[in-house]
């Protein structure tokens, strides 16, 4: 993408026509070539590519994104009406996209009345923002210089952007210094001092702007009524580029349209806070070109040109967007304001950056929607599996986009377009799912974990011995992509259901609940199920453990939507009977609770969904409620002396706002509790078991390890709510942490 003549910054007299380009939101100007490229590439090659990215860019990306992410948390914390603003922003975007054709007509009228012109670009035949605009202009002999310093750096480095708003976020100051030293050969080499580098870049880019014939900008928002564009920046480059040269070309996707200045407010309040943790960016420029202001001649600054000879061209890019608008699942993507919050809050993104988790143009979780709509499924399919559905981006998105759902939908579409797998016979027959034959065997395996768990439990402990042997692990790794470095779950012969069915429950209870026996609790960790039953009984609750299937979480996480949908109906049929009988549903595994409280909205009729949502509880949330309502805490076992705990909550549990119940109960019982604040443990269900992602998952896990290392040295007990989190903590610390409920177990 980069200019062939970056050195022309030292030659402002160049006769070449010059174009300055700026992108207030860091919207990339060229095709990526660093991302995974070949759909058929093996798991091993993918692992190698990600390993390379983690080694070369991971540290810098991690530092920068975690910094932004912390800033976002703080900025959101300072804002009392954050949720209201998000709702407003969401509604405004929904309406704007609904009336998009009308807005296009209105903006065209307004810009033309102002004296400018509007072009609607359908495909990427000519001018597009997504792709090759620079390359195209350069081929035509223009000298194109990016004016956003991050864009400028990657233009010089000839690299693709690695982040939605910080395109050079993967480069350290030292690397930028080396790049500048090689390119510009300064008398005194740069050492990596950010002030010095900025000064140099500012001057070099500034000279270009002063000599440019045309300034090209993006637009964060386009206001139809007045024909204005809004540019949101910190550097000030966009306005300088827009108003210094005589001709201003603004290029933006059609989805940037808003009706008028009145609808802009919530976005101005949200975009900086969500993206970089700033209450507001340094500049929000509202420009309604062409203006009458005279164009300054920098060679003769005292003489100015006549007023009124400025030109303005607004290029609105469709390039797949109008089709996305018709696609009920992808449509939401068009509400995206490219703030970057979903890049920063993503644990996998923090490890691999946008060169791994990103496509041709866009990066991070939302890139899946953009790339599918604009480049096609192939581009999105290459990185889409890096979204584990942890949901940590969901509460951060200023326009409330369900980013994990978009990733799931696209994964489902990719699954359905896949080729027949070479090893499908290994899992065929084991897999009573509703998916197409070509589904990747690895996904089919993890999506059908319940079937495996049942078989494994029935044949335990033999099944565990067999799957624990080296030759079997090697086959699992090679054929099914189950990484041999991971411990497999140990299935138990006696399940929680077996155990509960064979014992007398306390008779004189005040209330009755059903304990949902999730696959992991039931078949692999019955001790936490037993602890839950005994704890609830001690608090005066009779517990029923029903015969009910897997919630659909496992297939959903593999993009097997039809299978998840079927599971949802089956599970609801069983649980609804209990809800009808006045029993609450208590859930141990947070990812299953998240199905009942959130994902089932997609699968069940609204009333059914609401009933289950309102009547299901996380186990520690339920215990908290019982204790608040007068249950006897002395019936439970508490901390003997000064028990200190290092507690890692579960990603989906935190998104649902449920972590505080666990910490409150544990503190109440006398424990001294420290919590982690990493976004994810790295395991994320099946993700950490997959051969191609094992190393990413361990890299993510290292953040958690670093957080708890001190606590461990001080003798704290590790505690975790999710099965995968506790598997990951076991891998990191060599010891399996209990579920919090086990600490309350009266036995």
């Amino acid at each position: 993408m980069a200019s062939e003549h970056p050195a022309s910054s030292t030659n402002p007299e160049s006769a070449d026509p010059a174009v300055e380009r700026t992108d207030p939101e860091g919207e990339p100007g060229a095709a990526a070539d660093a991302g995974p490229a070949d759909g058929t590439r093996s798991r091993r090659d993918k692992a190698a590519a990600l390993r390379h990215l983690m080694a070369t860019e991971g540290e810098t990306v991690g530092e920068n994104t975690r910094g932004f992410n912390r800033g976002t948390d703080e900025a959101i914390g300072r804002l009392s009406n954050y949720e209201d603003l998000r709702k407003q922003a969401r509604v405004i975007k929904e309406d704007a996209i609904a009336e998009l054709p009308d807005l296009i007509d209105r903006v065209t009228e307004a810009v033309e009345a102002n004296g400018g012109s509007v072009y609607l670009v359908k495909s990427k035949s000519m001018t597009t923002e997504e792709l090759e605009c620079n390359a195209h202009l350069e081929k035509e002999g223009f000298d194109v210089v990016e004016t956003d310093l991050g864009e400028w750096v990657i233009q010089i480095a000839e690299e693709a952007p690695s982040h939605l708003v910080g395109p050079a976020i993967h480069k350290s100051p030292e690397e930028i210094a080396t790049l500048f030293n090689e390119r510009f050969n300064p008398d005194e080499p740069f050492s990596g001092d950010p002030d010095e580098l900025t000064q140099f870049a500012r001057d070099a880019v500034g000279e270009h702007i002063e000599g440019a014939d045309v300034g090209m900008t993006g637009a964060n928002f386009v206001l139809a009524e007045s024909g204005s564009i809004a540019l949101v920046t910190n550097e000030g480059n966009a306005r300088k580029t827009a108003v210094t040269p005589q001709t201003h070309i603004a290029v933006g996707g059609v989805e940037k349209l808003l009706p008028s200045i009145r609808e802009l407010e919530p976005f101005v309040e949200l975009i900086g806070r969500a993206g970089t943790g700033q209450d507001i960016t340094s500049y929000v420029s509202l420009l309604t070109p062409p203006t009458d202001s005279p164009v300054l001649d920098f060679d003769a600054p005292d003489e100015s040109m006549e007023a009124g000879d400025r030109e303005f061209h607004l290029v609105l890019v469709d390039n797949g967007r109008m089709a996305m608008r018709e696609d009920s699942q992808l449509r939401e993507t068009l509400y995206c304001i490219r703030c970057g919050a979903c890049n920063n809050s993503c644990a996998n993104f923090q490890s691999v950056g946008g060169h791994g988790f990103g496509g041709e143009t866009y990066t991070g979780g939302i890139a899946t929607g953009w790339e599918t709509g604009i480049e096609g499924l192939d581009s999105a399919g290459e990185f889409n599996d890096l979204c584990t559905g942890c949901t940590r981006c969901v509460n951060k998105c200023p326009v409330k986009i369900d980013i994990p759902w978009i990733n799931t939908v696209v994964r489902d579409r990719a699954n359905r377009g896949g080729e027949d797998g070479e090893f499908s016979f290994l899992v065929e027959g084991l897999t009573p799912d509703a998916e197409p034959g070509g589904l990747d065997v690895q996904k089919r395996l993890f999506g059908n974990i319940e079937t495996l768990a049942k078989l494994g439990s029935a044949a335990a402990p033999l099944s565990n011995w067999i799957t624990g042997t080296r030759p079997v692990r090697a086959v699992l790794d090679r054929a099914l992509g189950v990484d041999a470095r991971r411990e497999l779950p140990q299935w138990r012969r006696e399940t929680v259901r077996d155990w509960a069915g064979g014992r007398a429950s306390s008779a004189d209870a005040d209330r009755e609940v059903v304990l949902y026996p999730d696959v992991y609790t039931n078949y692999a960790h019955p001790e936490r199920g037993k602890a839950a039953v005994r704890t609830l009984e001690a608090l005066g609750v009779r517990v029923i453990v029903p015969d009910v299937g897997e919630s659909g979480r496992a297939p959903l996480s593999q993009g097997m939507i039809a299978t998840a949908d079927r599971a949802a109906s089956e599970v609801y049929a069983v649980l609804a009977e209990h809800v009808d009988a006045g029993r609450d549903v208590v859930v141990i595994e947070p990812s299953d609770l998240a199905m009942f409280r959130d994902d089932y909205e997609k699968f069940l009729p609204e009333r059914s969904f609401e009933r289950l949502r309102e009547n299901s509880y996380e186990i520690m949330e339920y215990v908290y409620g019982l204790l608040e309502n007068g249950a006897d805490r002395d019936a439970l076992s508490g901390a003997d002396g000064a028990g200190t705990l290092a507690y890692h909550s579960h990603c989906q549990q935190r998104t649902l706002g449920l972590e505080p119940y666990t910490t409150a109960v544990l503190s109440d019982m006398g424990y001294d509790v420290t919590t982690s604040d990493v976004e994810c443990c790295g395991m994320a269900g099946s993700f950490g078991y997959k051969s191609e992602y094992y190393e990413v998952s361990m890299d993510v896990g290292q953040q958690l390890e670093a957080q708890f290392a001190g606590e461990r040295d001080d003798g704290s007990t590790l505690v975790a709510s999710g099965t995968s989190c506790s598997d990951q903590l076991e891998a990191l610390f060599g010891e399996a942490p209990p579920h919090p409920i086990e600490l309350l177990d009266p036995v």
């Binding site: 956003d148 950010p194 900025t198 500012r202 910190n234 300088k240 108003v243 507001i280 340094s282 500049y283």
Partner: protein, 72 residues
């Protein structure tokens, strides 16, 4: 234009200071309706994090001073 000099001094009447963003937008909307539709919300020196840490003074000023005139 306020972007070129290194120091930007803003002189503003106290009566033109608004309490918050909603008030600012009410006023912006009025002014847009009146045809004053090129406006800038500038909140401080220009800044970048692109070179590795926060640096003030990029394409805009390095320093911003605001003088508020009371009784206006």
């Amino acid at each position: 234009m306020s972007l070129y000099p290194e120091r930007h001094v803003i002189v503003v009447a106290a009566s033109d200071v608004v309490p918050d963003m909603p008030a600012a937008f009410d006023r912006l909307a009025e002014e847009f309706d009146a045809g004053l539709d090129s406006q800038v919300l500038a909140t401080g020196p220009s800044a970048t994090g692109d070179m590795g840490s926060l640096v003030r003074g990029v394409h805009g000023p390095q320093e911003v001073h605001v003088a508020i005139l009371e009784d206006r």
